[in-house]
Amino acid sequence: MLVYVLNRILQLIPVVFVLSVLVFGFVHALPGDVIDSLAGDEAAEDPEVRAALEKEFGLDQPIYVQYAVWAGKVLQGDFGKSLVTRRPVSVELLERIPATVYLAVVGIGLSMPIAVPLGTIAAIRRNTPTDYAAQISSLIGISIPEFWFAILCIMLFSLHLGWLPSSGYVSPLDDLGLSLTYLVLPALAIGFRQAAYTTRLTRSSMLDEVHKEYVDTARSLGLPERKIIYKYTLRNALIPTVTISGLQLANLLGGTVVLESIFSWPGIGLTIYQAIQLRDFPVIQAGVLVLGVMVVTINLLVDILYRFLNPRVGLS
């Protein structure tokens, strides 16, 4: 197990390397000089300032040296300064991480208690109207764009009924009740799609389990059907469900750009979106890199968890 974990961690290195090269290349692929993009117009015109900046950014060095210097700084948590606020990018991002994680975790948390029972029932009553209803509604669920669902929710609950605020954020540490009212709609929009996804997943992995031999054995021993399902099959079926939900969490972190911008939710997604609007390249660069590394790390943890829960999966 330990060898496997170490091996997986070693495999991460090239992945993060590719990720960082692409992100590094992004700023260099911008039109014109990096200085034009990084320093603003006034500075770029003056040749003396330009030379000084070139030296400061190390642009007189060959590109691989520039990459090495940049990567060295990033490893120490130094992503440079925002072009807009002039504050260190790392500080800006650190402030925004909790809101994103808060939203993603609550969204997934909302979906599980709906999706797992629904998927289980659909699998047990396969090819009955209940199953068809669950299948069709989950298929429709994954076909609805989150942002459209969000708009419809705002139209109904904020504008028409006036029950909930249409956008904004209050930290749960400041005022939990108020914070929750702001959280409901965005979490609903995430949870909705997620629930549809998880229902399909639970159903298919339950179906995989129901046909295994140990279920027949249990039946022939005369165990009650209820016990077979809840004690044995569901437990096994949940292993892939939980792991894939973990992977989904990683995906959600990147997908929140749209929802965060609709609900003005101050997470990493909104930060990246605003940085794109304001052409704040260091923030885009760092935001994408940080989210990418978070995703890779979550995938790693999920993989390890999966082997741990299901030791039959080969350690090769």
Partner: protein, 315 residues
């Protein structure tokens, strides 16, 4: 000995290549008839197939079906309700929403099809060769793919589309970059699937047989192995077409896909946000169009999977 085998093989393929055109066509039609029969047995595939045919027909007939110019504003007729003149009402510039939804659909479908084709075209050779050659080629190739897969959700598109905006690309080139971004982000998934299938196939006897008769390795990979790896790729490409539509809509919704005033479902939904209160209908129709198209591809993909994957079909 080897030379002899080679000449035999050359003779064989030559014989295969001169198969009369009529016989070939008859074979193709037999296979497709069987395929259609198989498809019509699955209710989801049938329904999805009908919806997809409807989508493509509407996209082709858009110039005929549309009642107004989708771009020309008409300020006397702003935010008009549903009427026989404007089937879906008008937006804040007085443009006919019905016509805009039609033209937006044409554009979205063309871009998604092009992007999926591009993703397959680069992903399939990448994956097949990686799985077939194995070893170091495979290790390097797959780490590259993993690196691309580490970009969560929309981020890879955001980077590429931002670059295209900075380069001030317009018209055709803007669309080309969009297709490139969507296809490039699809590539790693295709490569993984193709590689997995190729790994399994590469151990089979027919591959060894091809080696023995001295067929070139590239040719073995692309002509022998590839045709046996298609079915998971077809399912994946179908579902991905639906996903592409969602992503295009999301990017345009963020103001990064299609620049105004070109009709686009996502961009129109974004504009509609400002008038949700007085005029909710403008937020409804483009959204319904997205749902319908994505659902069509998901239904068809689900049905196809049941047919092509015998493991799930048994259930």
């Amino acid at each position: 000995m080897e030379r002899q085998l080679r000449s035999v093989r050359r003779h064989d393929t030559a014989a295969a290549d001169v198969t009369p055109w009529k016989i070939r066509m008859r074979r193709v039609s037999a296979v497709s008839r069987e395929g259609l029969e198989e498809l019509s047995k699955s209710r989801t595939a049938t329904l999805g197939g009908i919806m997809i045919v409807f989508l493509f027909v509407v996209a082709l007939l858009t110039p005929v079906l549309a009642t107004h110019d989708p771009i020309k504003p008409d300020y006397r007729d702003r935010l008009a309700p549903i009427s026989s003149e404007h089937y879906f009402g008008t937006d804040k510039f007085g443009r006919d929403i019905y016509s805009r939804v039609l033209y937006g659909g044409q554009r979205t479908i063309a871009i998604s099809v092009a992007a999926v084709a591009f993703g397959l075209a680069i992903g399939i050779p990448f994956g097949i060769l990686s799985g077939y050659f194995g070893g170091r080629v495979d290790a390097v190739g797959m780490r590259f793919v993993d690196g691309l897969l580490a970009f969560p959700g929309l981020l890879l598109y955001l980077l590429i589309v931002t670059l295209s905006r900075e380069w001030k690309l317009e018209g055709f080139w803007n669309d080309a970059i969009l297709v490139f971004a969507l296809g490039f982000a699809f590539m790693p998934e295709v490569a993984r699937l193709a590689r997995g299938a190729a790994l399994v196939e590469a151990r089979k006897e027919y591959v060894e047989a091809s080696h023995v008769i001295g067929e070139h390795r590239f040719s073995v990979a692309m002509r022998q192995i590839l045709p046996n790896c298609v079915s998971p790729l077809i399912v994946n490409a179908t579902v991905r077409l639906g996903y592409m539509i969602l992503i295009i809509a999301a990017l345009s919704f963020l103001g990064l896909g299609t620049p105004p005033p070109t009709p686009d479902w996502g961009a129109d939904l974004n504009v509609a946000r400002d008038h949700m209160e007085q005029h909710p209908m403008i937020a409804i129709f483009p959204g319904l169009a997205i749902c319908f198209s994505v659902l069509a591809f998901n239904l068809f993909g689900d049905g196809l999977r049941d047919i092509l994957d015998p493991r799930t079909a048994e259930r």
